[in-house]
Symmetry: C2
Subunit: 199 residues, 2 copies
């Protein structure tokens, strides 16, 4: 073995990152140790801090080291609108792409009883309690249009109906710039059935 134990251990530890195989791990290790020792230290501290302190927001379940995430804590968001997403990264994607001014609720997964993911794992009781509290006027579902996503949407729609809260779902159809030839049949039939009046 040509590597010393500390170098070997760093190379193996880097493999925990998604998309990093043996070659990339080797390249990252040499880059950090040869050119960027201070960045390695900074990354080590950031990882340790995040691993030790980041939990979930009491209201929206997004990742945060505080009690409330920056959006829930901001006070400048409309508490009457609640957008339900599957992953923390979806929050940023929506923030970047839209001018949505309401709050979020992060499921961190979707209903999948076979994998042991039920309403409890998605924090749906806390969503139910929040709907019952009466502050939320509309829910916008931004879950993915897969089988499990549909089941999750149905479940939340039921909860919203019980609480008398309006519910909407983001549109699914042909993506902008998409060529009809290359769109799958499911998306196309969905887009056709969901046609809306043009002007």
């Amino acid at each position: 073995m040509a590597y010393s134990p500390a170098v070997q251990e760093l190379m193996e530890a880097l493999r925990c990152l998604p998309g990093v195989g043996p070659k990339s791990a080797q390249r990252m290790t040499f880059s950090l140790l040869q050119h960027d020792r201070s960045a390695a230290g900074r990354l080590a501290r950031a990882l340790q801090t995040a691993a030790d302190s980041v939990g979930e927001c009491r209201l929206c379940r997004n990742l945060t080291e505080a009690d409330l995430c920056p959006l829930c804590a901001s006070g400048r968001r409309d508490p009457g609108l609640l957008c339900v997403v599957e992953n923390p990264s979806d929050v940023q994607a929506l923030e970047d792409a839209t001018d949505y001014g309401g709050l979020y609720f992060v499921l961190k997964g979707r209903l999948s009883p076979l994998d042991g993911i039920g309403p409890g794992e998605l924090g749906l009781e806390s969503l139910e309690a929040r709907l019952a509290a009466g502050e939320v006027g509309e829910i916008i579902l931004a879950v993915s249009p897969t089988v499990e996503g549909e089941a999750t949407a149905q479940y939340i729609a039921g909860m919203a109906a019980d609480a008398g809260v309006d519910i909407a779902r983001i549109a699914h159809g042909v993506p902008l710039g998409g060529d009809l030839d290359y769109v799958d049949a499911g998306t196309l039939s969905h887009a056709f059935a969901g046609r809306a009046r043009y002007r």
Copy 2:
């Protein structure tokens, strides 16, 4: 901003890794924090240990946290053979691909006066002292066939001649499986000029 400070800092710190842009950094952050908290801790410790302790081998300049790297310390390698490479990763590549049983010398760069990289930066005095000590009988140059690599090879060949040490260079030519149509003119003319007797 949708991310809390610790999450944001981790995302930015991950950008120091080669080949990691904003999207990959986001994906890595969520993967570590959602599914793999213990791997994040392990990576943090490995980074800190490596950044604090890894220096270079006294003999070959390879990365190691000890005085000598595992190869120089092994005692089962032939000290009469010395292979000169540019990068620590080249050592592993040669170890994996060949049955070479000698030692290495890692330049960590190549001569490039315009970038301020002279013989001193490549540790060539210590190589000279090692040649003068008389234990090395043959040097094998495995530097890359670029302009700077050629200059480096020339310089080391001069040192070897002064010390009366044999010097060889790994063959450059058409790669195995390479189609002559797709090989660049420089490589082809080099391969043609360097033809060897067939059987």
